[in-house]
Amino acid sequence: MKSDLYVALENRQIAPGIMRLSIQRSEATGGMRELPEREIGIKRKTPLNFEAEDWAYSPVEPGQFFMLKTRAVEPLLPRPLSVHEASGDVVVFLYQTRGAGTKAIAALETGDPVLATGPCGRGFPVDDITGRVALIAGGIGIAPFRYLARRLSKSPSISSLVLVAGFRSMLFGLEDIAPFVTEIRVATEDGSAGTKGFVTDIIAPAPFDAVLACGPIPMLKAVKDSCKSAGTRCLVSVEARMACGIGACLGCTINTRSGNRRVCVDGPVFPAEEVLFDGGE
């Protein structure tokens, strides 16, 4: 985990309200108020080969995240975004624009400086996941699954990998994951694509050895419950509001069987049975 300056390589809308940002590690340094100017004409010398390369600086676990901050004076705090891909000196994020923080990130142009701290937290334990695996994504929860699917697809102990993705209406991010999975199932709330309904309508956990889920709390809770009755191992990636992202402020805690735990260092990936959604079961 390090805090470094990066430059934005590409920041592009891939669906309404959904952006993809790649940042490249920079040699520049700068203080809080004097991040360097935009680098004009920045271009990668060699094309990225995500299929082959790993991130150059430290091992990155799928499900880990970076805290990102732009030059914008507001907001004050960095925002957590999951690693969508990491290769060479580049990290890629897939994100939904919501409030001031993600809008500031969406305004980044090629060459703009970005302060990034990471990789933060504990991700999915790739080496410890075996057999028939289902990845369940709700909306932008699909973000960490491209890198996760790529890593799992290389593992000899995985026999099948199914992606189950739920969206409100518009689909996104699927084609990036397709090369690494054996099957894709889709549900939309308005029925505009795939099955009309929720992800939990199109997957029964019983045939799987492990279910890995990322998405809104109600979805995670439903997935946890169905995995529990099926007796299937379930790991969930949870979100919390964060300030530091490194475990120093205790702002991001969630209620678990072993008390309040920090999402930013003890998570964001937890065994589902550990997490007490709504404070109770």
Binding site: S3, G31, M32, A243, C249, G279
Partner: protein, 306 residues
Amino acid sequence: MEENKTTPNLVVDLCGLSLKNPVIAASGTFGFGEEIEPFYDPSILGGFCTKGLTRRPRPGNSGIRLQETRAGLMNSIGLQNPGIEAFVRDILPRIRRFGTAIIANVGGETMEDYVAACYEVSKSSVDMVELNISCPNVKHGGMAFGIDPDVAAKVVRSVKRSCRKPLMVKLSPNAPDIVAVARACEKAGADALSLINTISGLAIDVHARRPVFANVTAGLSGPAIKPIALRMTRDVSKAVSIPVVGMGGIETGEDAAAFIMAGAAAIQVGTAGLVRPDTCQRIIAELLEFMSREDIGSLSEIRGII
């Protein structure tokens, strides 16, 4: 050839404790120091304050704990901590090796809590105790002790009787008269004062038509509170003769210099260290750079000049 200036001297004496420099990481924003190790060597710091410790372990508040505001952060953590016994037994031996001053920040709900907690922790190898009579985020006690000069004096006097380490009392900006509280604490035996803790504020979720925080109010910190913190640091420094440690919204070396000019012996950095983990390291470097540029040989040349 450039004139060969000597490096400015940053050493600070804080009631007998010699600090390498005036930059101290503020309580609640630095864990127990271990989280910062991936970013820099904590031994470069003047010191750091632990997360608020209490006699018994506390789980902290439930619900939302953070809300960002314009140029600031509201928090309602509720003094989540493992308790003094576990701190002294499990954590302190691990962090002692940092080679910087460790200041134990102590919270409580009753007079007995404060006295027992300060006594317990002061028997350990911590360098100093910071008595937090200003936490706005605990239901009972906390800030209530720092609002009224007589109550503050009483708790300081009681704690001081059995506290074996220098006692720094952390003041609340929410007191109607912070100078009166400061004077009362000095008279009651405080060895130093630190200020300010967070300013009590309110955030409302208008869609849900309810307060954002379960405790209704929460504490505001960050750049937004700096002018208030500076003014209070100056007012209190002028009113007492014990050292005053200033904080509130410090982001840069020049901010640190401003607090020292307002009379602070040393400074603490909270929220800015959450924004960027290497902030304290940068502030030390920036302060040195500022002093060299302005030809200031030691902090005493600028302390309290405003």
